[in-house]
Symmetry: C2
Subunit: 112 residues, 2 copies
DNA sequence: CTTATATATTCCTATCCACGAATATGTCTT
DNA sequence: AAGACATATTCGTGGATAGGAATATATAAG
């Protein structure tokens, strides 16, 4: 999970991933679209590959990169456990109770 | 989005977020549970706060930190656009077609 | 007002990593 | 086999940042 997040957290890599969302692409195409230098793109792809976010298919001299679904699925599974943050009242209820408690404590004195 | 990812990509911050998933907590509690030194926890919380992932509520000398739902919702919205990766056939079809093309090209010669 | 408790900030340092430049590897074409 | 094309790797460097130690700030308690 951390590996996935770290890989995605770099802006250029994020852009590469966003590009690949629309389908597999060769390196040169990404170089052109993102206006980055070829070595940097290759290096970012290496990081993404090591993180398991992409895989490569060889087509003559070209390498076609594509997203691997697995890490994105894992991200989604992880995120699901945070749904309650906005779907339940959950912390809102908690915060409300705490606030009431705070007000009670402060009764009779000036704030700050 | 990048801001959110960067904040989550650091292991200790990730742990803090995981802790806060179960509800708001004061700093000292996290220090104790994660066995980190207090200044580091405060610094990580600062980063999380700047990234909009948490907010603080003052309770006497203590500060109670809680997750903010918004960034997690945004993450989920972003992730939704990647669902097709595994729900459709999408790239699988694409890859299949490419593979057929490759085999055709290679017909009659030795691999590598 | 002094002390204790809880948290935040500052300063320093070592480490990591993204970039640029140069070069290497691999494959196609002729 | 030679050159062209596509991609990968290496090396060096500057900037960002996490951690440690010390200190500052804020509130509570006596």
């Amino acid at each position: 999970m951390i590996t996935t997040l770290r890989a995605l957290a770099e802006p250029h890599r994020f852009q590469i991933v966003e590009l690949l969302r629309d389908g597999p692409r060769p390196v040169g195409d990404m170089v052109h679209r993102l206006r980055l230098r070829q070595p940097q793109v290759s290096k970012h792809l290496r990081v993404l590959s090591d993180a398991g976010l992409v895989d490569v298919r060889v087509d003559a001299q070209r390498r076609i990169y594509a997203l691997r679904p697995a890490p994105f699925q894992e991200l989604e599974v992880w995120l699901e456990r945070y749904r309650r943050l906005w779907e339940d009242n959950f912390q809102r209820l908690d915060a409300l109770l705490d606030e009431l408690k705070t007000k009670e404590k402060k009764r009779g004195r000036t704030k700050r």
